[in-house]
């Protein structure tokens, strides 16, 4: 069997990741793998643990157990966020978290922080190295703003952008960190049909540029139409992981989303 070389290696491999909040088991024993260059969807009903998984992957939460391998390096699920960002995991947030009182350009420039290095001394003397670096940051940020399609002046404050633009600005900011894995938490939420279509094109283009995309989305049609593979979470457990065509008719998934055939005796009594 011959498969394309770029799909040979797993970029991310989770094994046995678990997280509890007090008595609630938000994630239990999650294992999955994401291949380089694919668009991987993560779906599931509300409260299934999708965002919790994102937070562990990006270091905002500490996993109780389990570990994951990213880009051939093993992480124990208790890393600092900036370590994981440095490794190449960038994310957006479900409820947009931009730097509201900074300009669109500055937002993306902050994303360059971890790929640049000038410190206090450089800032004070503004030496040649710092000037070149600043110039590179601005150019890079402008390119990314154009790439995600923000036509508004780049000096507009982030909070004054439209909803769709804010979503795209978050993607631009994440892309500025030169990620290997771009994790998007419900990027299409609240978008109209045209915006969703544009987003789809943007994501395909990002994938074409060699960045692996991990996607949480409630819009099942959007996910199944876009993703190469999909995992389904329910009550903190992975109930399915497959290509979209098979997910669509997986009985466990249908049960999770629509509920099971009632087979409770009491229910049957009422029926009769």
């Amino acid at each position: 069997m011959k498969t394309p070389l770029k799909f040979d290696i797993n970029l991310l491999e989770l094994s046995g990741v678990a997280k509890r909040f007090g008595g609630l088991s938000a994630l239990s024993d999650i294992s999955l793998h994401i291949q380089r260059g694919e668009i991987y969807g993560l779906i599931g009903p509300n409260g299934a643990g999708k965002t919790t998984l994102f937070n562990i992957l990006t270091g905002l939460y500490q996993a109780d157990s389990g570990h994951f391998t990213f880009n051939n390096t093993e992480y124990n699920g208790r890393c600092q966020p900036h370590v994981l960002a440095q490794a190449g995991i960038a994310r957006t947030f479900q409820n947009i978290r931009l730097f509201a009182n900074m300009t669109a350009l500055e937002n993306v420039m902050v994303g360059r922080h971890l790929r640049t290095s000038s410190g206090i001394w450089g800032a004070l003397t503004r030496n040649a190295r710092t000037r070149i670096e600043e110039h590179e940051i601005v150019q890079h940020a402008r390119t990314l703003l154009n790439y995600v399609g923000i036509d508004r002046p780049h000096q507009t404050l982030a909070k004054n952008l439209s909803y769709g633009e804010q979503r795209r600005l978050e993607i631009a900011r994440a892309l500025a960190t030169d990620p290997k894995l771009l994790a998007l938490d419900e990027p299409a939420a609240g978008m109209n049909a045209t915006e969703t279509e544009n987003l789809k094109e943007l994501l395909l283009s990002i994938r074409a540029s060699g960045i692996t995309v991990l996607l949480i989305e409630h819009d099942v049609k959007f996910v199944l139409g876009l993703c190469d593979r999909v995992a389904v979470l329910d009550y903190g457990k992975k109930i399915a992981e497959d290509v979209p065509e098979k997910i669509r008719c997986n009985p466990a998934v249908i049960t999770a989303y629509l509920g099971a055939e009632p087979n409770i005796p009491a229910y049957a009594e009422i029926q009769s």
Binding site: Q80, H82, R97, N101, G111, A123, L124, T177
Partner: protein, 365 residues
């Protein structure tokens, strides 16, 4: 320097030169004019205004840029002042020169900044405010009580007879005649303070418009997002505390050298609040605003002190309310009015200005 001015004032290229020349002349001549018009006491007030501006700019880094509410900022001022006082007075019998003691005070304050910053890294908002408040009080109470069993700080009496600031044989404590002009001690201090204030403004501007400055502002806007973008929030926050504290320590050293006397009384909570007021009232995160806030909050109470008595005489023919108590009343009223009318401060961070600067820079490149 011209570029710095261009950042401060919303004027074009040619105007910047003119403004630079005019501003230089005004700043250099200011103590002489003030001396002539209002008396020597007002030059002293000018000096205090400069000290407070340095403090406010330091606090602006912590509160304005990084968004960390610090209610004990005056502690760093105290550290700088006491460092100077201890190492350059008969108290411990040490008389180290100014150019060693001042940087040492700033460095020590910087260290205290990190010391305060480290345990408070996980705290935000109200909780951070309470811890910093406690820190400020701890420093003051320590200074107040470190006179027994070994007398280090001389307790509530404070340290007096601190050496004047001296460059070799040239002491700022005496009147000097230079270029045919008589420079009293207070004028000389004015020029020294002016130099350091300009230095602090310069550093603030450069930091604001840098990778570090952006990281501070990102933390202020959304710490979680800043973390996820790969900013090492621990180091960047500590840097903000350290930079702010350094400016505070610097101002403290200058204060001790100018005043010749320090006591714990000068470093109470009220002082912390006053500096915070300057930052908030003027416009958080905007250097112009902070400058304006600093000047207003030093000059206004003094103006009210000197002006409210005669004003009452003029209006009612006699002094109804003691000017000393009236001035705090009016001052409080002014603060409330400003906050109601301009909640973002008198001179809020001006987006339009930043817009022009960045566009120009891009065009020049």
């Amino acid at each position: 320097m011209r570029n710095v001015l261009k950042r401060l004032l919303p004027i074009n290229k040619h105007g910047a030169w003119l403004a630079f020349v005019v501003l230089t002349i005004v700043l250099l001549a200011l103590p002489f004019f003030t001396d002539e018009l209002f008396g020597r006491g007002w030059v002293r007030i000018l000096n205090f205004a400069l000290l407070y501006i340095m403090l406010a700019l330091g606090l602006n880094i912590v509160v304005g840029y990084a968004g960390l509410l610090d209610l004990g900022y005056i502690a760093f001022f105290a550290v700088g002042a006491y460092c100077y006082a201890l190492l350059s007075s008969p108290q411990l019998g040490l008389h180290l020169p100014f150019w060693i003691v001042l940087p040492l005070g700033a460095l020590l304050a910087c260290l205290f900044g990190v010391l305060l910053g480290a345990p408070t890294l996980r705290l935000r908002g109200d909780y951070l405010a309470i811890v910093t408040l406690g820190f400020g009080e701890i420093i003051r109470i320590f200074l107040n009580n470190l006179n027994a069993p070994i007398n280090i700080t001389n307790g509530p009496q404070g340290i007096s007879m601190i050496d004047p600031i001296r460059f070799g044989e040239f002491s700022l404590g005496n009147t000097h005649e230079l270029f045919g002009l008589i420079f009293p001690s207070v004028h000389l201090h004015y020029y020294l303070f002016l130099f350091f204030t300009l230095l602090v403004i310069f550093i603030s501007l450069r930091l604001e418009d840098s990778r570090i400055g952006r990281a501070w502002m990102a933390i202020r806007e959304d710490e979680v997002a800043a973390k996820a973008m790969g900013i090492n929030t621990r180091n960047i926050k500590l840097l903000a505390f350290a930079m702010g504290a350094t400016f505070g320590g610097l101002a403290g050293g200058l204060f001790a050298g100018f005043q010749g006397f320090v006591s714990p009384e000068s470093f109470g909570l009220t002082e912390s609040i006053t500096v915070l007021c300057m930052v908030v009232l003027g416009g958080m995160g905007n250097i112009n605003g902070v400058l304006l806030g600093g000047i207003l909050l030093v000059v206004l109470p003094e103006a009210l002190r000197h002006g409210s008595g005669p004003a009452q005489q003029l209006l009612f023919g006699k002094t109804l309310i003691d000017p000393e108590s009236l001035r705090m009343l009016l001052f409080g009223l002014a603060l409330i009015t400003v906050m109601l009318w301009r909640p973002a401060g008198l001179w809020p961070s001006n987006q339009r200005r930043r817009e022009l600067v960045t566009e120009n820079d891009a065009a020049q490149r």
